[in-house]
């Protein structure tokens, strides 16, 4: 569906211009992390642990170092010893010691694929050969992968003692968060209907197409450059400098095009190692991951065990909710539990609530952010339980949600009141959508689910400059993952009242623009957009001021209209100067026209989404096909409508993969058996129907154009929407993801 009519009151906001990075990407000219090469560059290779848990007794690198063409070898001993420091420059807080030990293991390996040593050589083949010559003596330790196994009294401890746990007995609990209010037990006891269930899922990977890669060049004078793709080159600078204990200003990070991140590129894996190899060899060094490396050694979203109890009065009013969950943390402390607690039940008005979550250390790669990190898991459980509750009450599941939906001013789980949220408007739009009342075919079922994500603001810097010909360049510090260059150009063109093509946007390196937080938390169009608008307004003011001085009239007599400075009164009334005319004479009117905006954006608002999913279940094979899907979302206001729809469709596609196909398969030795896209089954185009999107616009009053983050919300509801559709089609409640054909077949035919 199209955006609401009010979008048409803008010149550019809500339009769909051609993306400025499109031609380079479709013609293969775009420079991604794996494409970059530097003169004299060496090729790196990393030796990874074959064991999920082992003590490193010794590392013998002599044979590798003797191989002709090998220029440097590094191990964890080459990284400086660091004091614990919790940093939040990526997504979620991380201890810099953990980040360092994840780049190169120090005394223990904590998962299969954990980097142990690295080599730089004159060819990639030599580098791999040399890495294979490194001899590592391990003391293999018992490993643990499962959540309940890791919490058992006799479980091997990943770290001793685990930080942030009970504080009493060493355990693998890395984080424990509880929020809520009221009297849950009493309310459940008095409820007319109570549903409860346990829901489980395995970790899933973000599945970005582009594997991690970088080139680092560290000179003898201490200055260094890094070229890489990431969700935040300032994050790369900060973490790399901290791991290496060097000044940030000595590192210049140049962002390259990024082939997907979804939260998984908000930390460093390779950059500090490439830096060490470069310092040792005196040459630029390239390190890159294979797809196998990405699966074995980079952070997935956590798997989960989630217990839910919901209670309601006979009329469907929710009276109590209890959600208790365990998330895989992997080898190091992760952060998803906090977001999981915040994202579980806040979309409903419930007087009595208790939500508890823990992070559990285990011998898997450290979990990392994945699109609304921590939210889809709990939402799967809560929205499945809501479906069950509707069935028990004999109520329409959409009416049940509308009856209990949170409104602006209602309290979130944290106790903070919701702002201008558009949750009810989403539910109303869904109810009015033809999909909701469309007939279903044989073996088909319809499921619904709703969810939300808090979004974020934070620091962004933008520089907007005017060229002598009156064209504009917006330089930001925010990597463009979802089309932010186009969105920034649209917002600047809107302020400046000039054609979209008159504004170009680039992503500047860390030495060329001020600090900007990662492109994550659905923050860039909101926060960097705020900075862009602020800079554009200042440039507009400067252009008017220059025109006023040129005409020798008071500044207040000049206004910016339709891309021109216009004199509005006095003898020069009606005189006009274009940006080209003002900027073309800037040499003689005070110098170049440029403005910088640096801010920490506040006032972000969450996004809410509601999804309708139709499935068809093959009774013979258990295969589930998605036959129709509609995603309704409060987007605040869509700046570039195509990109907003694309974000919604992408999130749904990833959520469907999570629901139906994706899972890690480890063998009894703790080794991953499906580290590739052939065996780790992500959805492909032929698995998908056209995903219909409905953009509900409830503008954020704090943002100049009403923006709310849109990128993460759409992955939250699909897991339950699909599961509820399968329930409707088969009568079977699937509580374990993925709902792969074997599981569905077992449920249908009494084997499960």
């Amino acid at each position: 569906m199209n955006a609401p009519e009010k979008i048409e009151t803008f010149r550019h906001i809500g339009t769909r211009p051609v993306r400025p990075d499109g031609v380079d990407k479709v013609t293969g000219k775009a420079l991604y992390g794996t494409d970059f090469k530097a003169p004299g560059m060496l090729w790196g290779a990393i030796l990874r642990s074959p064991h999920p848990h082992a003590r490193i007794l010794s590392i013998d690198t002599r044979a590798a170092e003797k191989l002709a063409g090998v220029k440097a070898v590094a191990t964890g001993k080459d990284l400086p010893t660091l004091e614990s420091l919790v940093m939040h420059v990526g997504e979620g807080a991380s201890d810099i010691v953990d980040i360092s030990h994840n780049c190169l293991a120090f005394d223990k390996v904590l998962y299969e694929g954990h980097p142990v040593a690295a080599v730089a050589a004159i060819t990639p083949e030599l580098a791999r050969e040399a890495a294979a010559l490194i001899s590592v003596e391990y003391e293999v330790l018992p490993h643990v992968l499962g959540l309940e196994e890791a919490l058992a009294d006799d479980a091997p401890l990943i770290r001793e003692p685990a930080k942030g746990g009970t504080g009493e007995t060493p355990s693998n609990v890395a984080m424990d968060v509880t929020m809520g209010r009221g009297e849950v037990e009493a309310a459940l006891s008095g409820a007319a209907v109570v549903v409860e269930g346990r829901y489980t899922m395995e970790p899933v990977h973000q599945g970005y197409i582009e594997p991690h890669a970088c080139v680092a060049s560290w000179n003898g004078d201490g200055q260094a450059q890094i070229w890489c793709s990431s969700q935040g080159h300032f994050m790369v600078r900060s973490l790399t400098a901290s791991v290496l204990a060097i000044p940030q200003s000595d590192i210049r990070v140049t962002p390259l095009e990024i082939g997907g991140g979804f939260g998984g590129k908000t930390t460093v894996y390779l950059e500090p190692v490439a830096m060490i190899l470069s310092r040792k060899s005196g040459r630029p060094v390239r390190l890159g991951m294979s797809r196998e490396d990405v699966f074995r050694a980079t952070g997935p979203a956590p798997g989960a065990i989630i217990d839910v109890r919901l209670g309601a009065d006979a009329d469907g009013t929710l009276v109590a909710a209890e959600v208790t969950f365990k998330y895989h943390s992997g080898a190091f402390a992760a952060n998803d539990a906090g977001a999981g607690v915040s994202s579980a039940i806040g979309h409903y008005r419930i007087a009595n609530t208790r939500v508890s979550g823990i992070e559990v250390l285990c011998n898997r790669p450290a979990a990392k952010a994945y699109r609304a990190p921590g939210a889809p898991q709990v939402n799967f459980a809560v929205e499945s339980a809501m479906d069950e509750l509707a069935i028990r009450l004999g109520m329409d599941p959409l009416e049940l949600r509308m009856k209990n939906a949170a409104r602006p001013g209602d309290l979130q789980t944290s106790g903070l009141p919701w702002g201008e949220i558009g949750w009810m408007q989403c539910l109303e739009a869904a109810k009015a959508h033809p999909h909701w009342s469309a007939p279903l075919g044989p073996n088909q079922g319809r499921g619904i689910a709703g969810g939300y994500w808090g979004n974020y603001g934070g620091p962004s810097t933008v520089n907007l400059s005017v060229a002598e010909d009156g064209t504009f360049t917006v330089a930001t510090g925010s990597p463009d993952i979802g089309g932010s260059r186009a969105s920034m150009a649209i917002m600047a063109a809107e302020v400046l009242e000039v054609p979209y093509e008159q504004v170009r946007c680039v992503v500047a390196d860390t030495s060329s623009i001020g600090l900007s937080f990662v492109t994550g938390g659905s923050r860039t169009t909101f926060a960097t957009g705020m900075a862009t608008v602020e800079a554009a307004r200042e440039v507009k003011r400067l252009l008017c001021e220059r025109a006023a001085r040129t005409w020798q009239v008071p500044a207040q007599h000049v206004e910016w209209r339709d891309g021109h400075a216009v004199c509005t009164s006095g003898e020069r009334q009606g005189s006009k100067m274009s940006a080209a005319q003002v900027a073309g004479s800037s040499l003689h009117s005070g110098g170049p026209v440029t403005a910088t905006s640096a801010l920490s954006a506040q006032g972000w608002l969450p996004g809410f989404g509601f999804h309708i999913c139709d499935v068809e279940v093959d009774q013979e094979t258990g295969h589930v096909s998605i036959v129709r899907y509609t995603a309704v979302q409060d987007v605040g206001r869509a700046i570039h409508a195509d990109y907003v729809e694309g974000q919604i469709q992408g999130g749904v596609a990833q959520g469907i993969g999570w629901a139906l196909n994706e899972t890690y398969i480890y063998n009894k030795d703790g080794k991953l058996e499906n580290p590739g896209f052939l065996d780790y089954r992500m959805p492909v185009a032929s698995d998908m129907p056209m995903i219909d999107t409905v953009m509900v616009e409830v503008p954020n009053p704090v943002h100049p154009y009403g923006v709310k983050g849109v990128g993460e919300v759409p992955i939250v509801p699909p897991l339950a929407a699909v599961a509820n559709a399968v329930r409707a089609a088969t009568g079977k409640r699937m509580r374990s993801l993925p709902m792969s054909p074997d599981k569905v077949h077992a449920a249908l035919h009494g084997e499960g």
């Binding site: 919790v86 940093m87 939040h88 990526g90 997504e91 979620g92 807080a93 942030g164 984080m175 424990d176 968060v177 509880t178 929020m179 973000q206 979804f262 939260g263 998984g264 908000t266 952060n335 906090g338 977001a339 915040s342 952010a369 994945y370 699109r371 609304a372 990190p373 944290s414 106790g415 903070l416 009141p417 994500w453 808090g454 979004n455 974020y456 603001g457 934070g458 994550g520 938390g521 659905s522 923050r523 920490s600 506040q602 983050g709 993460e712």
Partner: protein, 84 residues
């Protein structure tokens, strides 16, 4: 400085991790000063605050910690949530 002590609501996990309490009363001129005073009651809190803490002033998240607290009644200390 606020006219009367601020009501400080400490959300999990910080209540148990640092303070052993869910409610505190403190005076502070701005949020930076509040963090200092909280650190005095829960040593180590200031060190992790920037990375792990969000502060809500009278129900609204506030990232500008220079904000004066003269007319403020309540500050909620809650976990900072990351995104993807």
């Amino acid at each position: 400085m606020s006219a009367s002590p601020l009501r400080i609501v400490i959300m999990p996990p910080f209540d148990k991790e640092f303070f052993g309490a869910e409610r505190l009363s403190l005076d502070a001129g701005n949020l930076f000063e509040l963090i200092e005073k909280l650190d005095a009651q829960g040593p180590g809190f200031a060190k992790i605050a920037r990375a792990r803490v969000h502060l809500a002033v009278d129900g609204v998240l506030e990232t500008d910690w220079t904000r004066p607290l003269a007319d403020v009644r309540e500050v909620i200390v809650l976990p900072r949530v990351g995104g993807g």
